[in-house]
């Protein structure tokens, strides 16, 4: 019997809530199967299971569970169903859920003993929304449940009851908190160093224009794909920046999974992984980008996409600033920034010419690498962009 536990979908995640099970007891699962939808500050995430076997028992829906809590028991092939034990998912969920997810498991309110204060406006709204107001935490005078509390609860529970196709992306307020925690931790713990280089984007632009002129709109590429690929390719030459800082040491990653920073409507951002970016073709990367942006905004990122990035890239695009010095997302050790491609006077073959250029920046963890290594990465990106045909 193996435990399927609440995954950590990033350094900033402490708890998650299972809002949907996509398997039931008795179902066969194999590694990579999406088995549950977990609501986090990054929205509803499709969580994959990397165990092989048969689902034996599931944690109840709606419980707020800490990272590492048992979500399901998976019986390996040939194993007999086990006797329930203290650590089984229902028990775990009960303990944590009672405190953190009252909406899912309303405590019994004994008349005359505890009179929960609910404002008349809140009570009426709750009735209209079909929400039990007495179990909410009150923020009003005397701890009373107010209209705002009910409306907040309504938006929370919308994720529980809405069908998969229309589920909520994320809660901007929660995401803000999560970003605040992760970024504060990063700046507190990581000694950043910063490098910058301005790279001639002329060759890449010419190649891109040529490619796009000869392809259907759907097959056309954005400059971002070239930047992404150039970065991934450069990382194969400078693996010292591809990995994690864990237990006071740098752990290189086996593959290059680029976390692509996507800003979300309504605020906040998420940087899910584009797996094996160095081995994907440009059209594949373009498709991956498109798919990722759509799912990040609508909900439906996979858990592995949130946990796997080995380095983050933030590209400001056409309307962005000219350069960006990022904050590293722990436990990664570097973040590469691409500014807006701008036309500038550039010395080229002894003459000053108008050329499209792009500022490429690096913020890296000085515990894991030194500026020399960082400089090598920027130089490698520059080289890759000068030879777009090989990207």
């Amino acid at each position: 019997m193996a435990d399927f536990t609440m995954p950590s979908l990033g350094a900033d995640m402490e708890t998650g809530k299972v809002v949907e099970w996509l398997v039931k007891p008795g179902d066969r699962v194999k590694p990579g199967d999406v088995v549950a939808v977990v609501e986090t500050h990054k929205g509803a995430i499709d969580v994959e299971c990397f165990l092989d076997g048969v689902i034996d028992e599931l944690a109840p829906l709606g419980a707020e569970l800490p990272v590492g809590a048992v979500l399901a028991m998976v019986r390996r092939a040939g194993e007999a169903p086990a006797e329930p034990k203290a650590s089984h998912p229902a028990a775990v969920a009960k303990v944590v859920g009672a405190a953190a997810a009252p909406a899912a498991a309303p405590p019994v309110v004994l008349p005359g003993l505890t009179r929960v204060k609910v404002s008349p406006a809140a009570r009426q709204r709750a009735a209209a929304l079909g929400i039990e107001a007495d179990v909410l935490r009150g923020s009003g005078a005397d701890g009373a449940v107010t209209l705002a509390d009910v409306e907040q609860a309504a938006s929370r529970s919308a994720a529980l009851s809405t069908p998969r196709t229309a589920r909520r992306g994320f809660d901007p307020a929660l995401m803000r908190q999560a970003i605040a925690a992760a970024m504060a931790r990063s700046k507190r713990e990581i000694p950043h160093y910063y490098l910058s280089a301005t790279v001639d984007f002329g060759a890449a632009q010419a190649w891109l224009d040529d490619h796009n002129a000869t392809h259907e709109p759907l097959e056309r590429l954005l400059p971002a794909t070239l930047l992404l690929k150039a970065c991934a390719k450069a990382l194969t030459e400078v693996p010292q920046l591809n990995g994690f800082w864990r237990d006071d040491a740098f752990q290189p990653a086996a593959a290059i999974h680029i976390g692509w920073a996507i800003s979300l409507r309504g605020g906040g951002l998420v940087a899910p992984a584009i797996h094996d970016a160095d081995r994907k073709t440009l059209p594949e990367l373009m498709a991956a980008l498109r798919d990722l942006v759509q799912r990040a905004r609508a909900g439906g990122l996979r858990s592995s996409e949130l946990t796997d990035p080995t380095l983050t890239v933030t590209s400001l695009g056409e309307r962005g600033a000219e350069s960006v010095f990022g904050v590293i997302y722990p436990p990664q050790v570097a973040i590469v920034g691409f500014g807006r491609v701008v036309v500038r006077p550039w010395v080229c073959g002894g003459a000053v010419l108008p050329r499209p250029v792009v500022a490429v920046t690096l913020a890296a963890d000085h515990r894991a690498s030194d500026g020399h290594v960082g400089g090598q990465l920027l130089a490698a990106i520059d080289r890759a962009l000068q030879d777009p045909a090989t990207l």
């Binding site: 404002s119 008349p120 406006a121 809140a122 009570r123 009426q124 923020s139 009003g140 005078a141 009373a144 107010t146 209209l147 705002a148």
Partner: protein, 330 residues
């Protein structure tokens, strides 16, 4: 001519009376010390010289008597403005006010009207002790057949009298003793006001302060202090206690969902109690917090300055009452 004119509330009251006297020969002023002395609060100062003893009539200290004369004069077709020195003394005239002025139209099936205006000083804050400092306008608001006006601004002090005189039925005007010295801008484009509507004096978002009279400037000050803390309080000036303009109060409540009534009367059985009760009857489900009330302490208003200050509604108490029902942000 169209520039705003700055004047005191007292001066506004006087100009209103002078205008009324000049406009209608049926109008006259009657009360204790209104003539030779110029009015206990100097509102009618100089009017005896200007209009003569036929129009500015000094009376004996006999409220029930001269108020009754006022009722009779009104029935007979005159337009008396009776001044009662303070509303405390109006209790001596309560029989005339309630049993005659307020009821005659009803009892005669509308055959008689009593177009009487009674002005009285009300309220505390000038160390005039318990027999000159109470706020009894809420009591009069209990009586059908009366209109109860409570001007809290120079504009209302200037224009409410004309509206009251134009009304075919008795109107009581309560002028707050502390406001007499208050100054305000008078918009010359405003030539008349109604005796029906409450008025929004400050827009807000988080709570509604419903008030009138001298509690209005206190509420405006409190709203300013609250704004410094990010709490936006809306201030509704009732202007009239009878009829009570509940639609304006409820409109505001629908915006803010929180209500504090500030009333210089005592809390028990007061106009603030009436407003709270009507909100409970008509708009319970708009409330997102309990109704708060800031009223005078339930004691005869003390003479000693520091005790009087403690007894009356204060800006601090208003601020506290709003804070108590508005959740902290963030």
């Amino acid at each position: 001519m169209n520039t705003p004119q700055r004047m005191s509330y007292r001066e506004a009251c006087k100009q209103a009376i002078r205008d009324a006297l000049a406009a209608d020969p049926r109008t006259f002023v009657m009360g204790e010390d209104v003539g030779k002395y110029g009015g206990c609060y100097a509102v009618t100062k100089g009017l005896l010289e200007e209009f003569g003893p036929q129009r500015i009539v000094d009376t004996p200290l006999a409220e029930n008597g001269f108020t009754g004369i006022g009722v009779g004069a009104a029935l007979a077709g005159l337009r008396p403005i009776v001044e009662i020195m303070t509303c405390n003394f109006s209790l001596l005239a309560l029989d005339q006010i309630m049993n005659n002025a307020a009821t005659l139209s009803h009892m005669t099936g509308g055959q008689f009207a009593v177009p009487l205006v009674i002005r009285m000083a009300t309220g505390g804050g000038r160390q005039l002790a318990a027999q000159h400092s109470h706020s009894l306008e809420g009591w009069y608001a209990h009586i059908p057949g009366l209109k109860v006006a409570v001007p809290g601004t120079v504009e209302d002090a200037r224009h409410m009298l004309a509206a009251a005189l134009a009304d075919p039925n008795p109107v009581l005007i309560f002028e707050h003793v502390v406001l007499y010295n208050a100054e305000g801008e008078l918009d010359p484009s405003v030539r008349a006001v109604d005796l029906e509507h409450a008025k929004l004096r400050r827009p807000g978002r988080d709570a509604t302060l419903v008030t009138y009279g001298n509690s209005l400037p206190k509420c405006l000050l409190a709203a300013e202090r609250l704004a410094a803390d990010g709490i936006e309080a809306e201030v509704v000036d009732l202007r009239m206690l009878r009829p009570l303009d509940m639609p304006t109060v409820l409109d505001s409540l629908r915006r803010t969902r929180r209500l504090v009534v500030v009333d210089e009367g005592w809390k028990s059985g007061s106009i603030s109690a009436e407003i709270a009760a009507r909100v409970a009857e008509e708009a319970l489900y708009e409330l997102d917090a309990p109704v708060g009330r800031v009223c005078s302490r339930e004691v005869p208003v003390p003479y000693a300055a520091h005790m009087e200050e403690l007894a009356l509604p204060s800006v601090e108490r208003i601020v506290d009452a709003v804070r108590a029902i508005v959740p902290r942000r963030g």
